[in-house]
Symmetry: C2
Subunit: 315 residues, 2 copies
């Protein structure tokens, strides 16, 4: 097979790279994500791919939203995407190459499970901890997307029955309502308003940030910030409940944690999540790996390329 | 292939039958489960199988407890099983035929997903509602047991974070603690002790029963019994939360409900569970089937035989 190009389309940036069959990414290109809607984005993606190889063997694209069979269903993080878009088909026509589309969390999980921290995984979950909580599932060594393409939505596993918190998705009690950075930010504001002691705003300003980034959380937790600690304790328990449900039903062998919070807080944080999950497992003694994603910015392009290769092999 | 025999070993009875490749069970034999431990049980199973066919092509056994690679790990419902038992190997030696062992909920789910109410399912969950809550998963059309054989444990998906109820398994907040008949019985006693109005004890006695069977529940719910209604409402919500988590992560196309409560309360009850689950789904509009198991007592033997066939084909 010739060059396989992986594309990681994010809300802020697009990253593209050539990816070898052993998962090595080279010829990286990074651009700012256009805000003018699908036509403009497709134009840029095609340009980026052809500047890496003007006749690629296959192209994989990771997309920040729900996709199904090559079609973008919704694009909550991209301006100007109001209708479903046949992204794979439109790119394939321009590139004269097969294009495979995947959800970003799914694709990142595939990258990490094949060539990153989870290499060798048979049944794995990727847990992407950022503004929201993303998830991806590897079942029997392959990315599992389900029939409608909506599998892997770890962030919207409900974890609370009696007094569920409202989630950004409009539903109630989702793990993301406790462990996503956006919800955690709202909780900081609420706890401070209720008289909780916190220097998170000061830490944010000292760092010259305008939002509670993962590094703000890291510093606050290191300082023993009362509000930050209480919110993170709850987030860890919520994650433990969601993960326990998935491990009890899927007997997962590998849990991979990526995204800003996982990268900043590192293995110690993952160890805490494991510790909270274990007492909730039916088979706590089964050996499982709990790891931080290791490919960094490359997990998306590597996973997208893997997805493209898998699609070609399946044909 | 010659005769494939399916065996459904339960805490009370053992059922065995010849099962054709299109899932038809014939030559049924039913015996009382021996209470003298593994040797006695194996002796009976071998006798039952050989009385159906003294040279079977393959044998599948559904077991009421956790199993892994032909070995019984634990037998919580059988007297005298104190150590792991190599059940498949020991039976195979006696029968001179391949023997495949599966967990009862898994095997029942496979039977229903192939030849029962869920026929044609690609990604399915079996939810077995009895004394406890059992679960089985079909992924990409095949029974999914995980690497350690412990997959599918729906009953121990946690559904509550802030005030979890103790489960019979010793853990906290499992769906079984809300929706398993044993836990529901304990809740009846508690609510009555707290002054709740209920005629469940009288209904039980009228029916000549000594425990709250599924038919006692049915009658009490039909009568609008206050305590029974409150407990069942909560059970349905707990199930909805557990199922929503599984559907959001696995994009299941088929949900199959079996066991005493499902059979007695029927499709109306399944419809209620669906109704409670839908608002918690990321993709509520995807078409999914919510069905009551249709093979009755045969789901276990049919599924066990299917498992044996699948193992033979994989060799």
């Amino acid at each position: 097979m010739g060059t396989v190009v992986g594309v990681d389309l994010g809300g802020t940036n697009v990253l593209a790279a050539a990816v070898s069959s052993d998962g090595e990414a080279t010829d990286h290109i990074k651009e700012t994500t256009p805000t003018g809607g699908p036509d403009e984005v497709i134009e840029l993606l095609v340009e980026m791919v052809t500047s890496i190889d003007d006749s690629p063997a296959a192209v994989g694209v990771g997309f920040p939203g729900p996709v199904s069979q090559g079609v973008v269903i919704e694009a909550p993080n991209l301006a100007g995407w109001t209708e479903p878009v046949k992204l794979a088909k439109r790119m394939a026509k321009r590139l004269k190459a097969p294009v495979t589309l995947g959800n970003d969390a799914n694709v990142g999980t595939l990258g990490e499970a094949r060539h990153g921290a989870g290499a060798g995984a048979v049944n794995a979950l990727g847990c992407w901890m950022g503004t929201g909580i993303g998830g991806g599932l590897i079942i029997d060594g392959r990315l599992f997307e389900g029939q409608s393409g909506t599998a892997g939505e770890l962030g919207h596993v409900p974890v609370e029955m009696t007094s569920p918190r409202r989630c950004g998705c409009g539903r109630w009690g989702c793990v993301e309502a406790y462990a996503g950075r956006a919800s955690m930010r709202a909780m900081v504001d609420r706890l401070i308003a209720e008289g909780g002691s916190s220097e998170m705003v000061e830490i944010m300003e000292d760092k010259g940030k305008t939002r509670f980034t993962s590094s703000v959380w890291k510093k606050a937790l290191k300082n023993g910030d009362e509000v930050a600690t209480a919110i993170m304790d709850e987030a860890v328990i919520a994650l433990g409940i969601a993960l326990a449900g998935m491990i009890n039903t899927l007997d997962l062998d590998t849990l991979i944690f990526g995204g800003g919070l996982a990268e900043k807080l590192g293995q110690d944080h993952v160890d805490r999540i494991e510790e909270v999950t274990l007492p909730r497992l039916m088979a706590p003694d089964v050996k499982r790996r709990w790891v931080v994603a290791s490919l960094g910015d490359d997990s998306g392009v590597v996973g997208a390329a893997e997805l493209a290769r898998a699609a070609e092999q399946a044909v």
